[in-house]
């Protein structure tokens, strides 16, 4: 079934074709409609007073002066909102034993991180609201602060949640046995302790929300910059006790999300409550400074890991401990333990070995919450595995390519179950390795490197193999009790003039979801893409579904679109068959025309069918049920996840006097199954890689000993910028999944998954002749110079 999907020579063959995003022009022309562009009649603006302390008791709050400011409509504190909003708890049942305290929009009596919202002011303008904030007096009594992960684990450490036994949120262990034996008889053992800094998403558009409660209709409308409108419809309904059908969440244009806009934020919940209290629309847009202290952060892991190998460099076993600190709460509703869980499950994933043991410990501390952000857990698992493998290669005396070639799961050895229990349908490590070797021109790079070293230039070459989790089934959240859908729905209609509208539950954040859905529908229906309109992101209009996260838009949303388009096509051809006195199977649609399936001779335009059905149903045979609107849902079946794979390469120079790293070139060979739009796939890879390179060299949320974020602005928190980014060379291998007709898997996180591991390996490669090693990300000049003992 899948082969004809990519025959690019037939008309309307859009699957596999590079087509520009129809949205791009509109957004570039400034016609985007983001939440921050929205001005509703009678709309008010919210601003939040934030805690200056990382941990403190709220003794008293005096809001009198703030309330007296002209233009201020409401000043609300924790108890005001607690009256109308039920608390939420960021745990899931399948993470056995995990704990997290109940959360409310604003705290009642205690703040647990610096930057936590404490008091809300709603006023005629944001500026007036901020004037009023300056007049609020909060009396705090400081409490001991839990900042670093070691301190948090010590017996007798201050507690983030008084009343709990310790600061542990969750512990998990994987062990398939005989790990100690394997290490005992190993010829080589390599071991390292790695640390991965906290970082954050820094979306172009910050978080933004307009909540509009209409007391007359008992109806809540929320315009929300989010990836997952259905999830929020459910949450607002349940926590504010409004029937689901009376909650509408609209997510229109969104300026990037990367997982950050998936989660419940205290301010967003508060804004809904403020609108309910006032019966007026209330807007809140986080500014950049607020984003740094309230958007989720990610990573922040410390991993001690060792690898046992036989004499020839074959991996025997791995033994891993991952410690991660997640802030004061586990995030709702997806929790903050998924990243750690994926770290310990993805370590070693590309390789064939049997014995694996891993411990995960997730710790509370007085910082902002961490949670899912692009490539959840992957960069850590990848860096740990790939660095250990490079260390092993140099111990055994193998080239990095050779040790990987020797250990990857062979392309013909699928299906395969990893020692951590993941089931792989089909991956292509060997093909990818071979292709990377070619596109890097690896042997000449090594020769050049040797030459340069003689001249005092420390060039590094690094590679990193990865496996990415995509197309998640209910095994991801559903089994844990979260009301987060893994299915998607679409409603596809033929309009009276013979065009097609597709309403679908996957959402668009700038990555081109709407483009590929349009391509698939056009392709399957036999229509020009311009005649397809794709509509997303409105719970009142689009059917319920998982929306867009975790690399599922193309794989699951795309299959939903494909199957719904096929269903509509069947219905169209049934009517055509009646009109033309043919069997439906003898007909097909090409370029908007019904044709003879065998001769391709045109019989009638589908606009004519639409005209007859909508306006002259009297001319159809009696009893005809013309169904030109089809609604269809698709839930992934078969493998619980569609795993993808790939390999990246990196070329860089280390200035050993300044510690600066200059990226010269980056390479990726990636296999995301069926490529629907090569240009968008390449954009995803490039963007993902750049985010990974940011993590590798620049991005880190740094905290003081008292729990203050010390670099929470774009002047101090360094995001990757064009001048520092290298050219990125891309190649593809295609192994479609057999679980769907479309065969597509995800690609959004592949770039981020391995880019930092690649840089880590390349920097270590460059420093090897000087006997220095780096085991921390980001790799800053300070860390390089420290490793070189230059100061």
């Amino acid at each position: 079934m899948s082969a004809p999907l990519i025959s690019l020579d037939r008309p309307n063959s859009y699957i596999g074709r590079s087509l520009p995003r129809p949205n791009a022009k509109r957004l570039l022309a400034g016609r985007g409609r983001y939440v921050s562009d929205l001005h509703l009649p009678r709309m008010l603006h919210a601003a939040f007073l934030r805690s200056p302390h990382a941990h403190a008791k709220i003794v008293s709050i005096n809001t009198d002066a703030a309330r007296a400011v002209e233009g201020v409509h409401l000043v609300a504190t924790g108890p005001d909102l607690a009256k109308i909003c039920t608390p939420w708890i960021g745990t899931l049942d399948h993470f056995k034993g995990m704990t997290s305290s109940p959360q409310l929009p604003l705290p009642l009596d205690r703040v647990v991180w610096s930057g936590q919202a404490v008091v809300a002011v709603v006023a005629e303008s944001r500026a007036i609201a901020e004037d009023a904030l300056e007049l609020i007096e909060v009396n705090y009594e400081e409490l001991p602060v839990v900042v670093d992960v070691d301190g948090a684990r010590e017996v007798g450490s201050p507690l983030v949640n008084p009343g709990s036994a310790n600061n542990v949120c969750f512990r998990s262990q994987l062990d398939n046995g005989a790990v100690d034996d394997a290490f005992a008889k190993a010829s080589h053992v390599v071991e390292e302790e790695f640390s991965f800094g906290r970082h954050t998403a820094v979306t172009l558009e910050p978080r933004a929300i307009v909540a509009d409660y209409d007391p007359a209709a008992g109806m809540l409308t929320v315009h929300h910059a989010t990836q997952t409108p259905y999830q929020f419809q459910d949450l607002y309904s349940r926590h504010y006790g409004i029937p689901e059908a009376r909650v509408r969440v609209i997510a229109t244009d969104i300026g990037g999300s990367f997982g950050m806009k998936l989660h419940v934020y205290h301010e967003d919940m508060a804004v809904v409550g403020l609108s309910i209290l006032l019966g007026r629309p209330v807007k809140y847009v986080a500014d950049r400074i607020e984003s740094f202290v309230s958007d989720i952060h990610a990573r922040d892991h410390r991993v001690r890991a060792r690898m046992a190998l036989d004499a020839r460099g074959g991996i025997l076993a791995m033994d891993v401990v991952d410690l991660t600190a997640i802030g004061a709460f586990s995030t709702y509703p997806r929790t903050s333990v998924v990243e750690g869980n994926q770290v310990i499950r993805l370590i070693g994933a590309p390789y064939c070995f049997r014995n694996y043991r891993a411990t995960l410990e997730v710790i509370f501390q007085n910082k902002v919450q961490t949670s899912q952000y692009r490539a959840v857990g992957h960069p850590i698992a990848c860096a740990v595995t790939e660095r250990l493998l490079d260390m092993a290669a140099s111990k055994v005396g193998l080239d990095p390519f050779a040790i990987r070639a020797q250990n990857v799961i062979a392309d013909d050895a699928y299906p395969h179950t990893s020692p951590t229990g993941y089931r792989f349908e089909a991956l292509s490590h060997q093909a990818c390795l071979k292709r990377l070797h070619e596109i890097m021109d690896y042997d000449s790079l090594r020769a050049e490197q040797a030459d340069l070293r003689k001249r005092g230039v420390y060039r590094g070459i690094g590679i990193a193999t990865f496996v990415e989790i995509t197309n998640p089934s209910p095994a991801f959240y559903g089994v844990g009790g979260a009301r987060i859908s893994s299915q998607d729905g679409a409603i596809v209609s033929l309009t009276p003039s013979g065009e097609v509208r597709c309403l679908i539950s996957v959402t668009e954040q700038g990555q081109g979801t709407e483009s590929i859905i349009g391509q698939i529908v056009a392709d399957q229906l036999g229509l020009a893409q311009e005649r397809i309109k794709v509509i997303t992101g409105d719970t009142e209009v689009t059917p319920h579904g998982g929306a867009t996260w975790a690399c599922r838009g193309a794989g699951i949303g795309g299959e939903t679109a494909l199957q719904s388009a096929r269903a509509l096509k069947r219905n169209i051809l049934e009517i055509a068959a009646l009109v033309l006195q043919e069997q439906p199977s003898a007909l097909d649609i090409v370029d908007g025309e019904v044709v003879d399936a065998s001769t391709r001779n045109q019989r009638m335009p589908i606009s004519e069918i639409a005209r007859i059905v909508y306006f002259r149903s009297d001319t159809l045979p009696p009893g005809t049920q013309a169904q030109l609107t089809v609604s269809h849902h698709f839930a992934p079946q078969g493998y619980p996840f569609a795993f993808t794979n790939g390999i990246q390469g990196c070329l860089l120079d280390v200035d050993v006097e300044t510690g600066f790293v200059k990226l010269l070139k980056h390479f990726i060979v990636e296999d995301c199954g069926r490529v629907i739009n090569p240009m968008l796939v390449d954009e995803q890879l490039r963007g993902g890689i750049v985010q990974g390179l940011g993590a590798a060299l620049f991005e880190e949320c740094r905290y003081s000993e008292t729990g203050q974020l010390v670099n929470g602005s774009l002047a101090d928190y360094l995001v990757p910028m064009p001048m520092e980014m290298p050219d990125i060379v891309i190649a593809h291998v295609e192994t479609p999944t057999a679980d769907t007709e479309l065969g597509a898997k995800g690609v959004g996180e592949a770039g981020t998954a391995a880019a930092s591991a690649c840089v880590l390996n390349a920097v270590n490669d460059a420093l090897a002749p000087l006997g220095a090693t780096i085991n921390s990300i980001p790799i800053t000049p300070a860390r390089v110079l420290k490793a070189l003992k230059r100061f």
Binding site: S125, R126, A127, E130, D131, E134, D287, I289, E657, T658, F660, F698, R702, V710, N711, A715, L718, M721, M723, E724, T780, P781, A782, L785, R790, F791
Partner: protein, 286 residues
């Protein structure tokens, strides 16, 4: 965040600007390019009652030669350092430093007067006025005076400028044929404030250094001349030993403060590396 409400006055002459400031007392700020002031207002780090816009004062504009100096009007924008031929010719150190100041959008508005008045120790131009032995022309309620750059920078964001005084121009001694210069900085990303930066102006006779002024930025509370290093070089030829001696002298010349990410020892190390590289380049040119 949004700025607190303020009043706005656009001055047409220096007198109008000074007068408006005097009447508003301490609660007024001059605004030029706004590239430092506007962020400060938006973050509510500053909330003056009155902004006095000086960008329409003609006397503060223009670049011209005047008595052995290049007079660069305070309103000269960073981008003009790159395009103005007389600056490239007569004050080339400013010309080569300009691309390192922020990004094009900021250079299109930011002014040299604003940069020097603010005296951010991480800024390029204030440090270059030191290397250039420039003079700052100040006008205020008590008249007009010229202060040598050496006497202008006093402490962190503190200068010889008194409240209510304006910088009218920067006077830079005209570049001569027997002079050489070098500039570079170490910044994590292009356009960022540097971890360490340095500009050098040397007067040479053949390969002998007659006089040299070396000015660092991002190394302390003010732009900093390193006189020990200068002494190690004056009267000598630029060879490996001299360069090493100058690098060693930095230990006494500089006392970098404790930084969040860059410890003092690292900054000192980077300053040494940078000085070595710049003197090497200066030597190649000599």
């Amino acid at each position: 965040m949004k700025a607190r409400a303020f009043s706005y006055f656009r001055a047409a002459t220096i007198d109008q600007a000074l007068d408006a400031h005097a009447r508003a007392g301490d609660d007024a700020r001059f605004i030029a390019g706004g590239q430092s002031l506007v962020p400060a207002l938006s973050l509510r780090l500053q909330a003056p009652r009155l902004l006095i816009d000086i960008t329409h004062i003609d006397e503060l504009r223009g670049v011209r030669r005047e008595g052995g100096y290049l007079r660069i009007g305070a309103l000269t924008r960073h981008c003009e350092m790159l395009t103005e031929a007389s600056i490239a010719e007569s004050a080339p150190l400013l010309h080569v430093a300009a691309p390192f100041v922020a990004h094009p959008a900021i250079r299109n508005r930011g002014t040299i007067g604003g940069s020097v008045a603010l005296a951010d120790p991480a800024s390029e131009f204030p440090a270059m006025t030191l290397a250039l032995d420039a003079e700052i022309e100040i006008v205020g309620p008590s008249g007009r005076r010229r202060v040598k750059a050496d006497d202008f920078f006093i402490d962190l964001f503190e200068t010889a400028l008194q409240p209510g005084e304006l910088i009218a121009a920067i006077h830079v001694p005209l570049f001569r044929a027997d002079q050489r210069f070098a500039f570079d900085e170490l910044a994590r990303r292009r356009g960022d404030y540097a971890l360490v930066g340095c500009g050098i102006m040397a007067t040479c006779q053949g390969s002998r250094i007659e006089d040299i002024r070396i000015s660092f930025f991002s190394v302390g509370n003010t732009p900093t001349r390193v006189k020990g290093a200068e002494r190690a070089l004056i009267g000598a030829r630029l060879d490996v030993e001299r360069i090493a001696a100058a690098q060693r002298a930095l230990e006494c010349d500089l006392a970098p403060p404790e930084g969040d990410e860059v410890p003092p020892a690292m900054r000192l190390h980077l300053a040494r590396v940078l000085l070595g590289r710049l003197l090497g380049r200066l030597g190649e040119g000599a």
